[in-house]
Amino acid sequence: MIPELGHFALALACVIAVAQSVLPVVGAARRDARWMATAVPLALGLLLSVGTAFGSLLWAFAVNDTTVANVVANSHSAKPLIYKLSGSWGNHEGSMVLWVLILALCGAAVAGFGRNLPTALKARVIGVLGWIATGFLLFIVFTSNPFERVWPPPMDGRGLNPVLQDPGLAMHPPTLYFGYVGYAVTFAFAVAALLEGRVDAAWGRWVRPWALGAWCFLTVGITMGSWWAYYELGWGGYWFWDPVENASLLPWLAGTALLHSAIVVEKRDTLKIWSVLLAILAFAMSLLGTFLVRSGVLNSVHAFANDPARGVFILALLMVYVAGAFAIFAWRAPRLAPTGIFAPISREGALVVNNLLICSIAAVVLAGTLWPLFADILTGAKISVGPPFFNTATAPLAIPLVVAMPVGAMLPWKRADLWAALQRLWWAAAAALLIGFLSLAAAGYPVWPALGMALAAWLVAGAAADIADRIGLLRRPSQAWRRALSLPRAAWGAAIAHGALGVSLAGIAGMGVATDTLVQLNPGQSTRLAGYEWRMDGLSDVTGPNYRARRATVTVLRDGAVVTVLRPERRSFVVDNQTTAEAAIHTNAMRDLYAVLGEERDGAAVLRLHHNPFAPWIWFGGLIMAFGGMLSLSDRRMRVAAPAPKGATVPA
């Protein structure tokens, strides 16, 4: 009964979404207040019905209702409850329902919190969100019904892919989706503004919290995905430039560019057309990501089971939304005349450079991701583009970006003195040179990791210099604390996020000098790696809740003293008839010791051992970056999103 309720709720949501797509938009065009007023109740109704559908799905998974095909395919009664629930969005159908639920949630948030949005703009934004919801609900109802029944019901489900039974991955899709869907809202704002024919500083102020919020979620989602790949896939890497990973990186890059250009719209009332274009692009990248993951057109290490019909449907949605948005853009953008002017050496100039470089990186990543697809269609050649391509093609763009970051943050609005900004950064530059020299000479790093370390130090010290400069730490130390407290949170957030990129960069540079070895050890035998002695003590059998495992006990010693005992496992999942390697990791925040158990040969264990300096910093950096974004989001300026009167002076 409950699954039928869910199915009905989905169909109802479809109808509500159609109404939401039409009524408010027509109302806004005719300036009919009653039609426009339907936007809020429709958005809330959509949330209610999609929420009911998702709740029914969760219920079906929680009680392991084997009459539902989706539960049979993705769940099993012996699974812990958390993985039963996470299984509901760990599969294609359920994850699409989650996608639409988050979209409905965002629509309701615009309806509920956007009280000081002009009525017409609000009606249009909610209407455009309705267009997106309609497309995706039709997609679910016609190609991916999560409530399909099977009769007779099997005794039990087939289980969830054991690689996905992991707390990190349980939370990974929802976080990523909040990011993707957040860009649906900025997209809706962009299209609404085009329909309205007006983009002003107030528009920038409304869009920025959404761009920032989506960016924070996406940052956390990518960080979690990368961390999961590191500890669960057991290859010791953190980023593989895999199409599915790139699918989340592309909207992140476009979103990062949007985040920065929206500041310029807000503060200087310029770069408006560009920001609208970026908002459209960010959502196009999110849809492209969904398409790449769902259709399986590209080979990926983490792809879901896929179906070409679904891919075609999402591709059609992508075409309709993006082509439609570009058509509206071409039609209306000439009306958005630029008003502000700016000098090249200024904060807005620096933000243009930022946008240029980030978009170039995104273009390179996009080309590398899609090229195999085009090559296959055009010439039939089976080609893959691997990490060497992405590393060589993005590094020359990323390095100037990182070098320019602290300088740009130092420049004031309107007209700046480059030399003065550089003078205030001299000690950050000195720190960077010192760290670079130390890693090169003292630690014996190769050139690239040493450069990475130097740039990381430059970013962290540059962020510190920015804050020190703003609170006058060197000029008037006695007042610094008071000034630090009154410094806007957005300034803190920006400095923290910029510094956090430095933290991640240090981790990436550290991974550049990581060492690993492959050994075959009998019990009692040991090997040396990176100054540690790794001793294989023995192999044993372990039984988990839904798996059996072989476990190796590896004692790691340094100068005769025990550092840690690592217990890597190979788990066999009975229900799924699958084996996974469970890496054992010991971290002390400065380095990771990482062990993976391979096969066994005549009582000996084949082990892959890694020493990864600074590895945890990669994900710490990602989390700090998201924290900086959230801090900035909590700034007073974001909460008081009142429209500024036109032509008002904006404090620089």
């Binding site: 700016f342 450079v353 240029l356 583009v385 763009l397 699958q578 040969r601």
Partner: protein, 171 residues
């Protein structure tokens, strides 16, 4: 700065960015594109030893041998086949969890002077019933499966599919 001058400047900057990105992409493509070859392709084309490529096919049943390399590291050799032709692959590393005899596999590496293939990566997917599309395509080209006759048979049965008599198969 006049509006015209500013517009020119923005255009110039954008052109510079786009140009750099294109140049970087093209140069990186030149060196880093990795082609997929089936054993028959390798026999026909003889790719140069310095060029990395991906070799895919079925792991021949009974061909997997676990050996110890000259430097004492554990490694494995196996034969990858597409029916008519077979290539011997050496791999030093932990074989993926889903590596099974008789199933599809994709390996990344370089051809050795003796005609064997030294793999630096062996890819197998999380899903045991999954057949890499390139492998399915290679098998179709080798005459094992005709798409006109319907969907591909399950991956596990590929190895026992009828072979051409001159196939150097061991299983």
């Amino acid at each position: 700065m006049t509006r015209k001058k500013r517009r020119l400047m923005v255009l110039l900057l954008a052109g510079l960015g786009l140009g750099t990105a294109t140049a970087l992409t093209l140069t990186a493509f030149q060196d880093n594109l990795v082609f997929f070859l089936s054993p028959s392709d390798v026999i026909a084309q003889r790719p140069p030893a310095e060029r990395a490529f991906r070799l895919g096919g079925l792991v021949e049943a009974g061909s997997v041998e676990r050996v110890t390399a000259s430097d004492g590291r554990p490694s494995a050799t196996f034969r990858v086949t597409d029916g008519p032709n077979t290539i011997t692959v050496t791999y030093t590393g932990v074989l993926p969890d889903l590596f099974r005899e008789g199933q599809g596999v994709v390996t990344l590496g370089r051809l050795q002077p003796d005609g064997s293939f030294r793999a630096s990566e062996v890819l197998a997917r999380h899903d045991e019933t999954y057949m890499p599309p390139e492998v399915a395509d290679a098998l179709r080209r080798a005459g094992h499966w005709n798409p006109a006759q319907g969907a591909a048979p399950p991956a596990a049965s590929w190895n026992t599919a009828p072979r051409q008599p001159d196939g150097r198969s061991g299983g």
